[in-house]
Symmetry: C2
């Protein structure tokens, strides 16, 4: 069994969301699993000195246009949330809390959180909203709340962000296939080619 | 006759170089001409607050790997120059000097300058080296030297850089198809699709 594809993403990343709608099917086509690993872009900004894409003059305006165009190309519903970008530590903690128990279900929760943010305008920077999304998804609200506030879950989230940084993850999505890194949702075709051919 | 594709690039941009080897053929397939427009990334950095890609921690290392990988994918020879990135005002002036007389030939000169920098390690930040490349290309060295130093050529170069900025050009390559902007050499497939379908 080949190693899983590592899929790093921030819950506030439009391109992470777009890739999240495609990566499992793409991997499955090539007999691969996907290891979903939310991280926090804010932590990478401290190292890279960069900031949110949409805050960059010119590049920010282009990006907003490109979010919409890329979503249409992917055939994925998309709406830029009113509050964007946002901190996503609560969403990441909810994910890792569930991942400790059931990684497959955590992956589906990640998709539900992404869709709530990028199609329903739910402000996922607010912990209560993340809990509400998880409850609608079928989880027990009190259990999720306790999970988000659990010290060991906070620790794991922190460690996973540090591990992502140590792997060189500086943007979202960032996908690693057999040690080969691909940054961006516009590299899915290259990821597919790498999976099919073993590289070039 | 449909409008030409606008192709903005900095002579020090690896992804600009890669795209420069493909853009004319891609456009021709769809009955289009390409308007080649060198600009100066340094001028955009003043507006965007960004800096050279390879200077960004983590992202810079990824990019160096990605230059090589992208070149292999494109089937284009590539070598990261010893002096990189560099200022390219002399190269841009040589281009616009020739463009004033013969746009088709200026386009071929641009390709020769790119190849000298990215395959032969010629430091194109040095005006004399740009002249040497132009001379090897078949131009009169004294005429090119005079052109680079001509006030009206300097003015035109400055104006073209300002026009690029006014169009929203913040990175290289930046290609505009019927008003639709595409940033990056990894968007050539999207450019092709846009040309073929008129958009999505």
């Amino acid at each position: 069994m080949p190693a899983p594809i590592e899929f790093y993403f921030d819950f506030s990343s439009p391109f992470g969301y777009l890739a999240s709608e495609k990566i499992d099917a793409l991997a499955a086509k090539h007999g691969r699993e996907v290891l979903w690993r939310p991280f926090l872009l804010g932590a990478t900004f401290k190292t890279t000195g960069l900031g949110p894409l949409v805050s960059v003059p010119m590049k920010g305006e282009y990006s907003q246009h490109d979010f919409m165009r890329s979503a249409r190309l992917f055939g994925v519903p998309f709406r830029l949330p009113d509050n964007f970008p946002v901190g996503t530590v609560s969403a990441a903690r909810a994910f890792y809390w569930l991942d400790n128990q059931d990684p497959s279900r955590a992956r589906e929760l990640a998709k539900a959180i992404y869709r709530a943010y990028f199609t329903e305008n739910v402000d996922i920077s607010i912990a209560e909203n993340v809990v509400a999304v998880a409850a609608k998804f079928g989880l027990d609200a009190a259990a999720v709340t306790a999970g988000i506030n659990d010290g060991s879950v906070k620790d794991r989230t922190k460690i996973e962000v540090e591990k992502a940084l140590a792997k060189g993850v500086f943007g979202s999505p960032y996908t690693i296939v057999d040690g080969e890194p691909f940054w961006g949702s516009d590299r899915l075709d290259q990821i597919e080619r790498w999976l099919a051919t073993g590289g070039w």
